[in-house]
Point group: C2
Chain length 420, copies 2
């Protein structure tokens, strides 16, 4: 008997019919002799509807109350899935994050899991029940207030529960049926991967792949939880995220896939005096506004002792970063802040590049051949990323996928509504 944690996303739960289909899968897993723990996101549009109501009563709602509001969504979907399971001949108990022992920091809207003490979940399993846990939510260790885990929170709940329960596998169901060598909507012959090591999945997630959220992969890696990425619309096996690249023999290490990201913007601060501390002052200003940056480029000083500093960040944070930097323009004596949101990032990920020199050269050659100009380049041990014009992003993904011969023999299946 295996202990299986299953997580279902909002699009898999957007109607009563879809909830019934999810319940069928859960009951089948249970009847196959497994103990089953299920984590559900909020139904389809529930979160957006709640956000809309909040906006109407208060454009800047207090974060504590926002967490109280939004967590109702997962509570509703969990209870409905429990009812649907019951209609199909198994029994289920649903639990809030708090009841399931998901203990977090007190940072409303973006809490981190401190501990998971799922004794009530274990009790339910031992009594033969399916245990459902509301995703995305927990309870603050200090204040006992309801918290939410931020983006990708339900994936993180599922992985954290799987770790705490020592589950055999954590299955993440959504409308895509696995991890591909590239987005099948851009590259028709993209190939589904059977297995991806944690480190590569982390790089893919950080490079724009939306299959799994970075935090859940980090959590899975730390606790050695195997994640199975599957579609809730098919019975195909999906992709398993497990193991380390360290375990792969050097001669078998390969290039794994191409990721792309349209969510970033580029900021260039021009005419920065080239003295110690100027760059630090710029990055501290951005960091103090709680804004993460991604790629960085500093040009060589010109003859006047001035330089340009360029970095990328999420488009959502662009306007705020610009206004914060404008505030220190006089103090730092730079020329201007330039903002450009027509950029895209394409990345190649694979443990093989550690042992195969020339990957960077082949990567750049492929882009050159496709007429794509590189604006910033950034690498890790197992990843190369470049910033380019957004209009050329699809071409760049196809050129690199082709150059590294990542494609399969058949066309990838893309499900209707595969929008995430």
């Amino acid at each position: 008997m295996a202990l299986v944690v299953q997580k279902y996303g909002g699009s898999s739960l957007e109607s009563a019919d879809r909830i019934k289909r999810v319940a069928e899968r859960i009951v089948a897993t249970k009847k196959a002799g497994n103990q089953v723990v299920v984590v559900c996101s909020a139904m389809g549009d529930t979160t957006d509807e709640l956000l809309d109501l909040a906006e109407q009563v208060n454009p800047v709602p207090p974060e504590r109350e926002m967490d109280m509001l939004l967590t109702a969504g997962e509570r509703i979907s969990n209870a409905l899935v429990a009812m649907a399971i019951s209609a199909q001949g198994a029994e289920a108990w649903s639990f809030t994050g708090s009841q399931a022992g998901v203990v977090t920091t007190a940072v409303h809207g973006n809490a981190r899991i401190i501990d998971v003490t799922p004794s009530r979940v274990t009790d339910a399993l031992e009594q033969g029940y399916v245990a459902l846990v509301a995703g995305f939510q927990g309870v603050s260790q200090d204040t006992k207030d309801i918290t939410t885990l931020g983006r990708g929170g339900s994936d993180t709940t599922a992985v954290a529960l799987a770790a705490a329960l020592n589950a055999d596998v954590c299955e993440i169901y959504s409308d895509v049926d696995g991890v591909y060598t590239a987005d099948p909507r851009i590259v028709p012959n993209a190939r589904k991967l059977d297995t991806v090591p944690y480190e590569e999945m982390l790089e893919l997630a950080a490079s724009g792949s939306k299959i799994l959220h970075l935090r859940s992969v980090e959590y899975a890696r730390r606790y050695g939880v195997p994640i199975s990425v599957r579609s809730s619309y098919s019975d195909k096996p999906g992709t398993t995220v497990t193991g380390s690249i360290e375990e792969i023999p050097v001669e078998q290490a390969l290039i794994t896939g191409v990721a792309h990201d349209r969510s970033e913007a580029k900021i260039t601060v021009t005419g920065v005096p080239d003295h110690a501390g100027a760059a630090a002052r710029i990055f501290r200003t951005v960091a103090d506004a709680e804004i993460d940056i991604d790629m960085v480029l500093q040009n060589i000083s010109n003859t006047a002792g001035r330089t340009d500093i360029t970095f990328t960040l999420s488009k959502a944070n662009g306007p705020k970063a610009v206004s914060e930097l404008e505030k220190i323009k006089t103090e730092l004596d730079f020329s201007a802040v330039l903002y450009d949101d027509h950029v895209g990032k394409v990345s190649l990920v694979g443990a093989g590049m550690r042992s195969h020199p020339g990957v960077t050269a082949s990567f750049c050659e492929a882009l050159a051949k496709a007429g794509v100009n590189i604006e910033i380049i950034n690498t890790s041990e197992i990843r190369i990323s470049v910033l380019i014009r957004d209009a050329q992003l699809d071409d760049a993904v196809r050129a690199i996928h082709e150059a590294f011969e990542l494609g399969g023999d058949e066309e990838a299946v893309v499900y209707a509504g595969s929008g995430r």
Copy 2:
């Protein structure tokens, strides 16, 4: 500084605009120097929408999960009211029933409050916050599962919190502005009452008045909590439910009002053998199906040693009671079960009838003059109720209201949407 508990019903919270108006009243009460605890029902149609979703996934949903589902409604309205309060310059914390210390029995769907330990509410008040508590819900003492209090649950939450916090008053806001001598939609010159003693309010609630739920009045009486019934659409003073009829000097005791009820049906079991235990067997059968009965009439035996037994019950329970009784027809050897849902009940309530003989006579004379035939009559020390044809109910209410000179000089104000 007074401690005020305010309860707002679903129709007062059915849109973002109404939520903002409720928040204005709360903030005004707070700024007037009071400590304020607020209990909210779910927004307008939320409960019906959730029930509809539940019905779609499981026509007979497990009660534990139904409670988990429905309690999301109050969580949403409370968080939104907290946000609206914050937008208007005060600060509020919302709490679930569990967080507010509302401890109940484990009977899902109809739990009873065992204890209220509102230490987090007290903390919030002491720190200057408005404390919002989700109505209708609690946490089971034994299982730690989420429970609901059944019909009228939010009123009961408000009164129970007022008792536990030793509040100065519990204000119940809805779309009616007080307790009237009769339903103003039937009797245009019905008069709003300033004060109603607990015993009379209990009789009115049990006789079909929907202003306050019976349980909340019982709770208020037991703990001596004054209830103020008010409209969320006006600033008029409303009606205060407080004090005992024992405190009213006999010569001042009066007839208070007329209540009516269209929610009951009548069942007659005919040809019942007139031996000891036959009636008991009938009422036990109904009780075992968890059905409450109201009025009872047993005819005198006919010459064949057979009798008819008649009782009333909620229409909602009618079909179930009939089918349960049919099951014992052979065993008990009665003739038939007759079902009649075209009945109505009209009641006169007032402490004055204890000391004024002749009230029953005047009551029956008024009905006779209006051409209304009485089918069953039932009395308590301070109430007379009769069962009549439903088509004559409005006429009967008007005739009694007139006969006891309960009307005022002006027409009552009826608010739009005053449907409860």
